[in-house]
Amino acid sequence: MSLVRTLGKNPRCDLYLDLAQMISGILLVGFLWTHMLFVAVILLGPATYDSFARFLDDYYLSYIGIPFIGLVALVHVITVCRRIPSRYQELWEHAKLVRHTDTWTWLFQLVTALGIVILVMIHVWSVLTGWPIEAVKSTERMTSFWWFYIALLLLGEYHAGFGLYRIFVKWGWIKRKTIGWVTKTITIIIVGLGLAALWAFLQLGGAV
């Protein structure tokens, strides 16, 4: 180890970064799943959806939740970036040379991460500029940009599902096969819920 690294490094730095990556990741997965449950409230009708959105608004839950999740996402981006090698071709060459499924799923997690960063920024911007959340506005967004939301849903769920799987694999709390099965099942349910919500919005918009 070089002198600069020895002098300048907190010996627990790597541990803290790893924990920050894990905790922010778990919080984001939790947020994503809750978010999808909230969106699925549209299945109970636009009136319920509106009053639920108003409830979150009235009790300032949106105003606490959105900046908090933004901060968590920032921590996650910063901590996962240290996993990305400076030369991308090394990753690609390794994945091609050594045939291994989990290596490819991780590589694709990196790709989905880049996609999510871009799409989420557009999504957050479009929601915040159209504040508050109402069924009419959501329907308008969904009917015009359904392809955008399908992409975001699939990318997000893929990244979150495999990310959670990997955390459990690394810490070994549950058997690898079991956790793989559990995360896949939850992911399929959440994707199904998201698609159902989208279908409900499209119906409200008269597109179906």
Partner: protein, 242 residues
């Protein structure tokens, strides 16, 4: 399946010869009953090309010398039957390790380095008395130590590992499994804090991406995920406790 005509694409390169360039060479071979890659390589060397370099000693998955990339997967040549493979077989040397020539790599230097770095021997201040009866150990502890000791140091876990390929200083599953072995040994007096100084970083336990190529490629089928997780939990706890 026997009696197939097998095509071997084998990596050829002699780093000691300045005129040599890395290239793939093709060999044809008639498949025989119960043929392993080890048998096939010996036949090629005896009948077709005496210059072909590859390692083997025991031909029984004990010595760990014949690890190589067989159709992209780190495997032992002596343990891989040709009947489980398609008729076209590509052989490459294990990545990460220093290439000696063709399929032969130097795993010894790498493993010696991790042995020294993790001080892979019992640390105790007890004086050894050769006449005293051996200390007792409960069965579970002995089993846990034995399980980790089954590692034959073939290097398949390191070759398949993304982190080990990207970061030369990473200890890898073989190194962390070795540490786990001493962590459970009651004769070793090192504390969790002592271990944290050596492996509580990205060079050690926190460098793992969790892709588990190590476990998937281990020819001895060691429970490497559980071993890595055990070390990670122990080190996280030691780091947080101060």
């Amino acid at each position: 399946m026997a009696n197939r005509q097998l095509t071997f694409n084998i990596f050829r390169y002699n780093p000691t010869n300045p005129k040599d360039k890395p290239h793939m060479q093709t060999y044809q071979l008639q498949e025989t009953e119960g043929m392993t890659i080890f048998v096939a390589l010996n036949m090629i060397r005896e009948e077709q090309d005496p210059s072909l370099m590859f390692d083997f000693v025991c031909r029984a998955a004990i010595c760990g010398s014949c690890g190589m990339l067989i159709n992209g997967k780190p495997r032992l040549a002596c343990r891989t039957l040709t009947k489980d493979l398609p008729p076209e077989i590509t052989l490459l040397p294990l990545p990460v390790f220093k290439l000696i020539g063709d399929l032969s790599v130097d795993t010894g230097t790498w493993f010696r380095h991790i042995s020294l770095k993790t001080e892979a021997w019992i640390h105790t201040d007890k004086e050894f008395d050769p006449r005293a009866q051996e200390e007792r150990m409960d069965n579970k502890t002995a089993y846990d130590i034995y399980e980790a000791e089954r590692c034959i140091e073939c290097g398949c876990c390191i070759a398949g590992c993304l982190t080990a390929n990207l970061r030369p200083e990473f200890l890898g599953a073989a190194g962390l499994n070795r540490v786990a072995r001493f962590m459970v040994d009651p004769r070793d007096k090192r504390s969790a804090k002592d271990y944290f100084e050596v492996i509580g970083s990205d060079e050690g336990t926190f460098g793992c991406y969790g892709l588990m190529a190590c476990e998937d490629n281990c020819p001895m089928e060691l429970p490497l995920q559980q071993q890595l997780a055990f070390v990670r939990r122990k080190m996280a706890w030691a780091g947080l406790k101060r």
